[in-house]
């Protein structure tokens, strides 16, 4: 049984046994990285330097809001590295390439920071699902190094401290509450390391990134207070191909349903293996709304389809080039995730808001649990 007080004592003792000149803590404002910085600070006080990188892939105003909300608990240094990240990542298309490039840019920047400050350790908020997914080859989490055999002191010049690496999200949240981390951080929905770069699905451009930033705000506000674990937007080019075989699979669920697949691909996990497969979109009238949630077994069993999107319609959009998908899931540990049975009404309302952006062509709702999808698209 996980007891925050005992865990805290044990971790503080363990950290104090290490020889640490000083340590940099990479904080994103998420509960994992914040909590690992807070618990390490209890052990080594001011020898911990917490920093927050503004990568340019965070949500609107997020870097300053996070720094502000942690004032008093962690004296965070906000560091602008937008140019470095944009230069490294714009123009990439492949999901894994984006994740791997993000990781190398992230650690090069951190490595420099560690050296400049004369430190010898890096603290980060790796938790169990991060290394399980990376080691298992599902996707590269940006904060997993040691577990895949990267010797950080040789490559980057720091040793790695990961006080939460055996914990799951719900345990981290219990620990964070015990340590007095503000509720806004404890309950904040998880945010992927590479940020919005992997929600601008496929080719990464400034234009697409801006659509994602704007859409994220609309979806977060529109689906707030519904008891969801994670809810956000993703965008990609609205370029589709009709698929005869997939159409046959859903015929009986509505009148004149059409199944197409997008040109971009999405990440899934099937039978413990990563699948980087097609994203299917179903349009047309369903017999009943609840059938939206019965589409995914038809289209993902025995195919390479990883995500199934039900098209909510263009909501009056003016024919832009990006398809925007609303993603929402419920889960406690993020190892599996279910799709909440949101009403069509509430989704349509959000879709109408999203349609106000001239770059948007149409809007859909992802109806795929994890597995066979992952929560994110890349």
């Amino acid at each position: 049984m996980f007891i925050p007080e005992e865990f805290t004592k044990a971790v503080i003792n363990e950290i104090r046994r290490l020889e640490i000149r000083c340590a940099i803590a990479a904080v994103s404002g998420g509960v994992d990285s914040t909590t690992s910085a807070v618990i390490t600070r209890l052990a080594i006080n001011d020898r911990l330097i917490p920093v927050l990188f503004d990568t340019g892939f965070m949500r609107i105003n997020e870097p300053t809001e996070v720094t502000e909300s942690l004032r008093g608990l962690l004296p965070i240094r906000l560091i602008d590295v937008k140019e470095e990240f944009y230069t490294a990542m714009m123009g990439l298309s492949d999901a894994e390439e984006k994740r791997v490039r993000f990781r190398s840019t992230f650690y090069s920047a951190l490595s420099k920071l560690v050296k400049d400050n004369g430190c010898d350790w890096l603290v980060q908020g790796t938790i169990a699902p991060d290394w399980i997914e990376t080691v298992g080859g599902i996707k590269t989490q940006h904060n997993v190094l040691a577990q895949i055999g990267i010797e950080t002191d040789k490559v980057y010049g720091f040793k790695l401290l990961e006080p939460l690496k055996e914990l799951y999200k719900d345990q981290v949240r219990a620990l964070a509450r015990f340590l007095g981390v503000p509720a806004s951080i404890v309950n904040r929905q998880p945010f992927p390391g590479p940020g919005l770069s992997i929600r601008a699905v496929g080719l990464l451009t400034m234009e697409k990134l801006n659509v994602v930033k704007w859409s994220t705000k609309i979806v977060e506000e529109g689906l707030n207070n519904l008891g969801l674990s994670q809810w956000f937007a993703a965008a990609w080019e609205d370029e589709r191909v009709y698929d005869e075989e997939l159409n046959k699979r859903v015929k009986d669920l509505g009148r004149g349903l059409t199944v197409e697949t997008f040109k971009v691909k999405g990440t899934g996990v099937k039978g413990d293996s990563r699948e980087y497969g097609r994203i299917a979109v179903v349009s047309g009238e369903l017999n009943k709304w609840s059938d939206a949630f019965n589409l995914y077994p038809r289209l993902t069993y025995g195919t390479d389809v990883t995500h199934v999107i039900y098209e909510l319609g263009d909501g009056g959009a003016k024919g832009g080039k990006f398809f925007v998908t609303i993603r929402a899931v419920t889960t406690s540990d993020y190892m599996t995730a279910d799709v909440p049975k949101l009403s069509r009404g509430i989704l349509t309302k959000v879709a109408r808001e999203l349609a106000k952006n001239d770059s948007v062509s149409s809007i859909g709702f992802d109806v795929t649990p994890k597995p066979p999808a992952t929560i994110e698209f890349e």
Binding site: E133, Y168, D272, K370, P371, P372
Partner: protein, 188 residues
């Protein structure tokens, strides 16, 4: 103290099994299938053989001593997903690779036996598999089925062998904790 060995084939949920058992107050350790059977027998009261991305029988050479654990370990053994398929195969059952299931699936109990005691007759279980058990081995009873897969759970009570195709260790499986506890109680 009861110590449960969790044979780790690198599946996503293996570490989660250890966590669930520890939450219930049991001691659990992840073990590699290269460990010799006699050491496993000495150190553990029972075994859980869980999931991974490998297919049976094609990937059998990669499973180390796991087939021997399943056949020869003296205490109770629970197979989950890949472990369930391995158990079926080693005792002479038949597997198929064209009945995949992912995400939430309705499972109906045919015979509750030991491990499904206290579970509703119909419940939602979380699945992630391509291979499944088409026909149970001789001596085994089918405990549950879904609309796609006939052998969702099976048992041979006499030799203390149990298998489930779904993942009781994930939160989204209803009664998952009950099923794991039912098995863990057999280890005392």
């Amino acid at each position: 103290m009861v110590t449960i060995g969790v044979v780790n084939f690198g599946g996503q949920y293996n570490h989660l099994i250890k966590r669930r058992l520890e939450d219930m107050g049991f001691t659990a350790r992840l073990i590699s299938s290269i460990e010799p059977l006699d050491i496993i027998t000495r150190e553990f009261d029972c075994l859980i053989v869980s999931g991974g991305s490998w297919n049976i029988p094609a990937d059998l050479p990669r499973l180390g001593n796991a087939p021997r654990y399943v056949l020869e370990f003296p205490g109770p053994v629970l197979g989950i997903c890949l472990g369930h398929q391995l158990m079926a195969y080693e005792y002479g059952g038949v597997l198929t690779s064209n009945k995949p299931e992912f995400g939430g699936v309705r499972v109906t109990i045919d015979d509750e036996d030991t491990i499904l005691r206290g579970v509703d007759r119909e419940f939602t279980a979380w699945e992630s598999h391509n291979v499944s058990v088409e026909r149970e081995p001789a001596g085994f009873t089918v405990l549950a089925h879904s609309s796609t897969v006939r052998v969702q759970a099976m048992a041979n009570e006499r030799i203390m062998r149990y298998g489930v195709q779904f993942h009781p260790e994930v939160k989204h499986t209803q009664f998952g904790d009950v099923i794991l506890r039912n098995f863990a109680e057999l280890c005392r």
